[in-house]
């Protein structure tokens, strides 16, 4: 019964969407604001990767909200899972030598790769979110391979808070210097070089640290707590 009703509901949804899809044919240019970003993006923000300039600069406020959401998820997960009273000490089975050595060798490489990704966010595909996720996967590897190691909860909280505060403070500096929140107040530099695009790389570095520590904190909480 429930299944039949659900399928009927889904058919209605599908028909409705089918109806409206005829208005947005695939593969044709539809955008109005996107064209503006492509044409003026390099000049106005100095970032070669237009997606980065949209994410950090034109729609930077969305990105601020987005890191806030990840922050909420990390805090909320901690609140839901935080243990009451004594922690149960669980048996830790040591990993095999191959896994242990492999993880220890790979971990620094993954960290360097993640950092590369978010520092070069304005030049190549990638940015704070992707780099942060890669760093978090490095920590996941450490949990798998070297189980006796743990990241310090204090350090990860510190990175989360400071990353978020750095984003807000850079935005407020724009307000102080130019009267607009998140204004790109630093010199844009020459496009396609590392030191260009004003505040974009700085914000992406802050995001990278914040996202990396939050995702690592989520994994840590899921594994260790409750």
């Amino acid at each position: 019964m429930r299944r039949v009703i659900s399928i009927l509901l889904l058919i209605i949804v599908a028909l409705g969407i089918r109806l409206s899809l005829t208005k947005i044919p695939f593969g044709t240019p539809k955008t109005k604001v996107g064209r503006y970003y492509i044409e003026e993006g390099i000049e106005e923000t100095g970032a070669v990767n237009i997606v980065t300039s949209v994410v950090v600069s034109y729609r930077g406020f969305d990105t601020l909200g987005e890191v806030t959401i990840l922050f909420i998820a990390a805090i909320g997960l901690g609140a839901v899972l935080s243990t009451v009273g004594e922690k149960t000490v669980r048996e830790i089975e040591p990993a095999s030598l191959v896994l242990y050595t492999g993880c220890r060798l790979l971990f620094p490489l993954i960290l360097i790769f993640g950092t590369y990704i978010f520092i070069h966010g304005h030049l190549t595909p990638g940015g704070g979110f992707q780099g942060g996720a890669i760093i978090a996967s490095g920590f996941l590897l450490i949990y798998l391979g070297c189980r006796e190691r743990r990241i310090s909860r204090v350090a990860s909280n510190l990175a989360e808070s400071l990353g978020g505060l750095a984003f807000v403070v850079i935005g407020l500096l724009g307000l102080v210097f130019g009267g607009y929140f998140l204004l790109n107040f630093l010199p844009k530099g020459t496009a396609n070089t590392l030191f260009s695009a004003g505040i974009i790389p700085i914000i992406y570095i802050a995001i990278g640290f914040k996202v990396g520590s939050e995702l690592a904190g989520i994994i840590d909480n899921l594994i260790e707590e409750s």
């Binding site: 990704i117 996720a133 899921l222």
Partner: protein
């Protein structure tokens, strides 16, 4: 090109159906991760390398990992 894309889309939908059918939740999660992975390849074909990277790193890898951790703390088989 269009055949490769069609094949990937069909494979992706099969993965999604498999995620719904499997009783073993770990298998279902692997099927869902396959869906994410193919979606990230499709993002690359759609000229969105940034998104492809984010989907592969976050959608496929990290999500599957936290699902598996959560399943280890609960129950592996659907009743």
């Amino acid at each position: 090109m269009i055949f490769v894309v069609s094949f990937l889309v069909v494979l992706m939908l099969v993965g999604a159906v498999a995620a719904s059918i499997f009783r073993d939740l770990i298998s279902a999660v692997i099927a869902a991760a396959l869906v994410s992975l193919i979606a990230s390849i499709l993002f690359y074909f759609l000229q969105a390398p940034d998104v492809a990277m984010a989907e592969a790193a976050i959608g496929a890898a990290l999500t599957a990992a936290i699902f598996i951790i959560a399943i280890r703390r609960t129950k592996r088989y659907e009743e």
